[in-house]
Amino acid sequence: MCGIAGLFAKTNQIGDELGAHLERMLVQLNDRGPDSAGVAYYRNPVGPGESKLTLQHPDEAYPWSVLGRDMADALGADVDLEQRANHAVLRVGAEAEAAESWVAEAHPQVRVMSAGTVIEIYKEVGLPTAFAERFRLSELNGSHALGHTRMATESRVTTDGSHPFSTGLDLCLVHNGSLSNHNRVRKDLERQGIVFRTENDSEVAAGYLMWRMREGASLDQALEGCLEDLDGFYTFAVGTADGFAVLRDPIACKPAVLAETEDWVAMASEYRAIATLPDADRATIWEPEPATVYSWEQVPA
């Protein structure tokens, strides 16, 4: 069992309060995943030629400002850095790939949680309620966000095994379920050059999406590929720069509820998470069909 929550703001007001809403949703899903928690927020897009990384180190006292200064010197670019618990978000005046490569070489013990122009990923082991407080989720605004509470089945409880998993620039995946052919798929993907950090089944799904999109598939095509190539139980939610997508396995073993009002679209493992949102009792509520890709995108203003 795990819990998934997704929220997509259709108004500025919901966007301004996004963090507080997502925190309330996550707390309702505490019981479904007391091992770890994580969120992906899409917020504060950077300008042209800039990129954004979220970095993590187990030690909250890691010398982030030194890392930021060294990166600025090495890349010859401006670096703004904001720390949040044991994570740091960097706004870099260079391409994401260059910044990621520099981190991997200069600070190999620092993990890159996300890279892109708008995504920020925070995740850690421990109770979701404690996570929400430690990472001050309620103060984060944004256009949309995904959250996950984990009850581990296929691999150890670690930060790396927590969700969301980055699946490329501005992309991430959260998963409720368990995959049964992940070892085989992992080996196939490793031969294609996809690198895995854990024995986690969900990381394989993330790697699979990354590979399919690298080979030219759209997100919808990559998700439809999951129906062919992944065996097991899953409800996936995928965050993109503009929105999010939801897919359930053909048997629909794992729960999912979708709800929409004039102000927001929400997805959750259980309705009680959605019930915390404003006007939830007046929302249009439905259960996503099995083996069907649902997606939402922000309409450019």
Binding site: I251, A252, P255, V257, E270, Y271, R272, A273, I274, A275, T276, D281, I285, W286, E287, P290
Partner: protein, 236 residues
């Protein structure tokens, strides 16, 4: 906080713990003078609402319910004014459970008696392993509904998903809309007068008017699976 307004006992779950509500509802089975009519406010998708009731009382849930609402119901009439989550009225023994909206997966699963009415749609595995209860769904049902249903009746006014009635035993299924596909050993059967009467009775019990029982088709077991062959009886 609990207030009594006329003959209706109102319990607001925004102020009262769910366990207190369920305990009070359970206590009605032994009460000398049971409270006959209850209204539950602010259910907010809570799980296990009004589970395990065993008294002829009316419970109205004023909003959406979570998992296993009215599970194991006996004698009581539970009405959800909204949607219900996974496992509505699971293992219902008797009484009536009604949802004015839609129900998630496994509504009425393993039910042994009583009536489950879903005014909207029911999702996958509705009536799975049915053991004697009746289910009336005014909308559609999802895939694998009535899987291994042993006895009882299921009436679907709308359509069904894939694999309806897979490995069904002696339960009877009546469908007014389209059947996406039938499961193993489930076949269409003749609709006789006794079946039309049965449908009319179930629709009346569910409070559904203006539907001609002749519009339904009947589905049931072809009795061709392994368990139906007498040669295999010695294996058990």
């Amino acid at each position: 906080m609990t207030t009594t307004a006329g003959a209706v006992e109102t319990v607001d779950l925004a102020a009262t713990p769910l366990r207190d509500l369920n305990q009070r509802l359970h206590d009605q089975a032994k009460a000398a003078d049971p409270i006959g009519h209850w209204q539950v406010l602010n259910p907010s998708g809570a799980h296990a609402l009004a589970c395990g009731l065993d008294a002829p009382i009316d419970v109205e849930i004023m909003g959406h319910a979570g998992y296993y609402c009215a599970g194991m119901n006996k004698l009581a009439t539970v009405t959800v004014h909204g949607n219900a989550g996974v496992g509505l009225a699971e293992n219902i023994m008797s009484g009536v459970v009604r949802v004015t909206g839609s129900a998630s997966q496994a509504a009425g699963a393993t039910g042994r008696g009583g009536l489950v009415v879903v005014e909207g749609d029911a999702s996958a595995r509705c009536g799975i392993s049915l053991k004697g209860a009746d289910i009336v769904v005014q909308g559609s049902v999802g895939h694998m509904s009535a899987f291994m249903a042993q006895t009882g009746r299921m009436v679907v006014l709308g359509d069904t998903g894939d694999a309806l009635g897979d490995s069904i035993y002696e339960a009877r299924i009546y469908v007014r809309g389209s059947v996406k596909s039938l499961g193993a050993d489930c076949i269409k059967k003749e609709l006789g007068d006794e079946h039309r009467d049965e449908i009319a009775g179930l629709l009346a019990a569910a409070g559904v008017d203006g539907i001609d029982p002749g519009e339904f088709r009947r589905y049931g077991s072809e009795r061709k699976l392994y368990t139906f062959h007498v040669d295999n009886a010695g294996s058990y």
